[in-house]
């Protein structure tokens, strides 16, 4: 079967990519790395963490706008930048916000280190849930459990079961656990609050912090 393609430019490279694919998938197919957090293959894109933002121009010239690559579909003639100064600045700030709210979640630490953050300017909190919604989508889409969902709004938002009671539809499959980035053993590196260890990018310290290429780790073997 012949695949229909559209021509897009990602980071200056002209690429023919499958029609209907997202910018993230198109970029990954050609080995262009875009960091993600709330995205997981085979789950529907959510667009919540905004880490995968890219700068898009519909026709190459004129106005550019920022959108998440995991939700944005490629269109003919699109010009995409995955690492423009505006994007780098935005991602750094997002990583800082993320790691400040959940410093003990490994993925947050990884992304912060990956973005080259050394200092967080916000007071640390100790959230274990980063509200990425992976567990909910896993439960709903893959396990047909429909046992989890978000409740509350804004800062009161949390993942919960209907009326906080485990419903019959939950078969205790642990799919939610499996995808949760918050349950991965957190980074052991931080000593003082406000500081980041950054060991994941220093190969000699790797074993204590990053047991080799687990989900979401960005060590030197897999650079930006």
């Amino acid at each position: 079967m012949e695949r229909k393609t559209v021509n897009v430019t990602i980071d200056g490279r002209s690429l023919d990519v499958e029609e209907g694919s997202t910018i993230l998938l198109a970029a990954r197919e050609f080995g262009i790395h875009i960091p993600t957090l709330c995205y997981l293959e085979h789950l529907s894109p959510y667009g919540g963490c905004r880490i995968c933002v890219v700068e898009i121009s519909n026709n190459g010239g004129g106005r550019t706008y920022i959108d998440t690559s995991c939700t944005h579909e490629v269109r003919e003639g699109m010009v995409i930048q995955t690492g423009s100064p505006r994007i780098i600045r935005a991602r750094k700030m997002l990583a800082e916000l993320l790691v400040a709210s959940a410093p003990n979640v490994k993925v947050a630490q990884d992304i912060a280190a990956r973005m080259g953050l050394v200092k967080v300017r916000f007071p640390f909190e100790d959230n274990r849930c980063i509200l990425c919604g992976l567990c909910i989508r896993m439960c709903y889409e893959q396990m047909d459990g429909k046992a989890l969902g978000f409740v509350g709004r804004g800062m009161g938002r949390k993942v919960s079961m209907p009326f906080e009671v485990r419903p019959d539809t939950c078969r205790l499959c642990r799919g939610c656990d499996y995808v949760c980035p918050g349950v991965i053993v957190p980074c052991q590196g931080i000593k003082d609050p406000g500081e980041l260890c950054g060991r994941c990018v220093r190969i000699e310290d790797m074993p204590t912090c990053c047991p080799m290429g687990t989900f979401g780790c960005f060590c030197e073997k897999n650079p930006l």
């Binding site: 894109p45 667009g47 919540g48 963490c49 905004r50 880490i51 933002v53 920022i66 959108d67 998440t68 939700t71 944005h72 579909e73 505006r86 600045r89 935005a90 700030m93 997002l94 916000l97 993320l98 400040a100 709210s101 300017r121 916000f122 007071p123 509200l131 969902g149 978000f150 509350g152 709004r153 804004g154 800062m155 009161g156 938002r157």
Partner: protein, 617 residues
């Protein structure tokens, strides 16, 4: 009620209604908007009804319970036609007097008239009141003329004429062309050209198409959508039916927050009435076109004003926005093409169809046509809903219509566009009000909130208030909006407590720009506007908080100190009596002083001091 089966029938019905109205003598209209309800207009109306019934001369006196007239500050408002007398702040006890003096003898009651603040003269008729004089009430105008719950009233003033014209004299494409050439732009805030949206929705493939009216108005201090839906639900409905005919929609929703009970009730009544009259439902006016509307009540989340979140809410899911690359006009409600417009936009549609696009586009500026309703609130003398032509300057709105400063302090800024808008300094008050010029100065049209602030308002405090509002209203789905606004709120809290440091302002700016850049929906994208615009125009105030640890407007309590001037204090002891913390010492007739350690900075002493001896620094 009779069932209308054709355009001629509708005209006949209108003639019947008008011929009945001609025989009538006096029409007393009591404003029944939510604002006047708070002032007790229901009691006034009941009193009128009771007294008129007693006198048994209902033949000559007609009582109307109309929609909001906009001048809510002066409620309850009563007008008497045909003389055109405008009474304000009418109480129950005034009713017999109005009936016996004004209605029977034609005498005008001076104490109920509006007094011009400048000339100190009483004004008899509505059109001479400065608040109304500069306005151009095309959309709001109907509110004062009709009883919202009576379809006959609306038919009487020419209602559903535009619908008949659209159904029988125009083709859908012609209607869209008419709307396009009128230059009507969405009144919900973003200002997207309405005609283009309709066209896109008409062209979108799909059998079923939905029409939605967005009345999820949540801005603090803005209530024009509510007033329109309450006061003239049939104009909204008529606009929607015309839109549905042009687009090919089969079903419509009016999305109203449940905090607007009167708007819900009136909209529901209007739908039932229009259905019974054959103006809604199957085979409208015998044209073969069918369209249904129902009211969908929202839970009152601010984010549900965002189109994708609104649709999610109607579908019964959590009111959360989604990525908007695929527009609503292609995939909206239940994945079907959906056309969503604001209440005010829909209300403009019958006007354009009736009077033609050249007339409509003659009002306003080059790129913004027609009128816009603003809710003018804050530190001005006259507050309420004002409908003005686009392109009017802020100065005219604030000083001519609003009457200028209220508390003797000069006006320093106006905040337009609700919590997502920005603060515009007084130096820019010559700015014409339209979509593009407001955006250019870092604010926005938004839904039309207009909060006037004077020297007694602290801009840091204002920015803090809006950030906290949005932080509470953020749905929490995306990180920059949820975490970013929280952090912005924290930084602003620290600044107003005098704990801000040198990096605070630059961090605030950087954070604001990233939140605006990366947020998922319009709420987050515009949320930093109040902070960024305040930082742009009132940076010195922020700097005073951070470096000098002073609040120039004397609002932020941790940064101010109360003291009593020794020379001015008469020793009357009034302040000592009201002080809740016993922080004031001093003997009778002797100068008093405030003990700083005990002072809770409530300001009660300043309020009671007749000698103006209490100073705030």
């Amino acid at each position: 009620m009779r069932k209308i089966k054709s355009g001629c029938d509708l005209e006949k019905w209108r003639e019947d209604i008008l011929s009945k109205q001609k025989q009538n003598g006096v029409v007393i209209s009591v404003c029944g908007g939510t604002g006047c309800h708070a002032y007790g207009c229901k009691k006034v109306k009941d009193e009128f009804a009771k007294t008129i019934r007693k006198k048994r001369n209902d033949q000559t006196i007609h009582l109307k319970f109309t929609g909001c007239r906009g001048f809510c500050e002066r409620g309850p408002i009563v007008t008497i036609q045909p003389q055109g007398i405008f009474y304000q702040k009418v109480q129950e006890k005034d009713v017999p007097l109005i009936l016996s003096e004004t209605v029977e003898k034609g005498k005008i009651l001076d104490h109920l008239l509006y007094e011009d603040l400048m000339t100190k003269q009483s004004v008899t008729s509505e059109k001479d009141i400065p608040f109304y004089k500069a306005q151009c009430r095309l959309v709001m105008g109907n509110n004062g003329l009709i009883e919202p719950t009576k379809i006959e009233d609306y038919i009487g003033i020419g209602g559903y004429q535009a619908l008949a014209k659209a159904l029988f004299q125009m083709k859908p494409d012609q209607i869209i062309e008419e709307i396009k050439s009128s230059g009507l732009r969405g009144r919900g805030g973003a200002g997207f050209p309405t005609g283009r949206k309709w066209e896109d929705c008409r062209k979108a493939p799909g059998e079923v198409k939905y029409i939605i009216c967005n009345c999820d108005e949540g801005d603090p201090g803005a209530y024009m959508d509510r007033s329109l839906l309450e006061g003239s639900p049939h104009s909204v409905l008529e606009g929607m039916i015309i839109g549905a005919f042009a687009i090919g929609g089969s079903h419509g929703y009016i999305y109203v927050r449940h905090e607007y009970p009167l708007a819900c009730k009136n909209a529901e009544k209007a739908i039932i009435q229009a259905g019974k009259a054959g103006l809604l439902g199957n085979n409208i006016l015998g044209s073969g076109f069918s369209f249904d509307v129902e009211v969908a009540k929202g839970g009152g989340a601010f984010v549900c004003g965002e189109s994708t979140a609104l649709v999610a809410s109607i579908e019964g899911r959590i009111g959360e926005p989604r990525s908007k690359q695929v527009h609503m006009v292609e995939q909206g409600l239940w994945g079907k093409p959906t056309n969503l417009n604001n209440v005010e936009t829909w209300s403009n549609v019958p006007l354009i169809i009736n009077k033609g696009s050249p007339w409509f586009s003659s009002i306003g500026t080059e790129k913004s046509k027609g009128t816009k309703i603003f809710s003018l609130v804050g530190k001005v003398k006259n507050t309420g809903l004002v409908e003005v032509p686009m392109g009017i300057t802020l100065k005219e709105i604030i000083f001519d219509i609003g009457g200028g400063q209220r508390d003797g302090k000069p006006i320093k800024a106006v905040q337009t566009g609700g919590p997502s808008g920005g603060c515009i300094p007084a130096s820019l008050f010559d700015l014409p009000v339209d979509f593009d010029s407001l955006t250019k100065v870092g604010s926005m049209m938004g839904s039309g909130g207009m909060i006037v602030m004077d020297e007694g308002t602290c801009m840091v405090d204002v920015a803090k208030y809006f950030v906290h509002f949005l932080q509470e209203e953020s749905c929490g789905k995306c990180l920059p909006c949820r975490e970013g606004l929280k952090r912005m709120g924290e930084i602003l809290d620290r600044i107003t407590e005098g704990k801000g440091d040198a990096g605070s302002l630059s961090l605030l700016e950087e954070l604001g720009e990233v939140v605006a850049d990366t947020s998922l929906c319009g709420l987050g994208k515009t949320a930093p506007n109040p902070v960024l615009s305040a930082l742009r125009y009132f940076r010195s105030e922020f700097e005073a908080h951070v470096y000098q640890k002073k609040c120039p407007a004397a609002v932020c309590t941790p940064l101010i100190q109360y003291s009593i001037s020794e020379t001015d204090c008469t020793g009357c002891g009034a302040c000592k009596k009201v002080c809740p913390t016993q922080a004031i010492q001093g003997d009778k007739k002797q100068s008093h002083r405030i003990l700083e350690d005990l002072c809770s900075k409530c300001g009660s002493c300043k309020d009671v001091c007749k000698a103006n001896a209490v100073m705030v620094q």
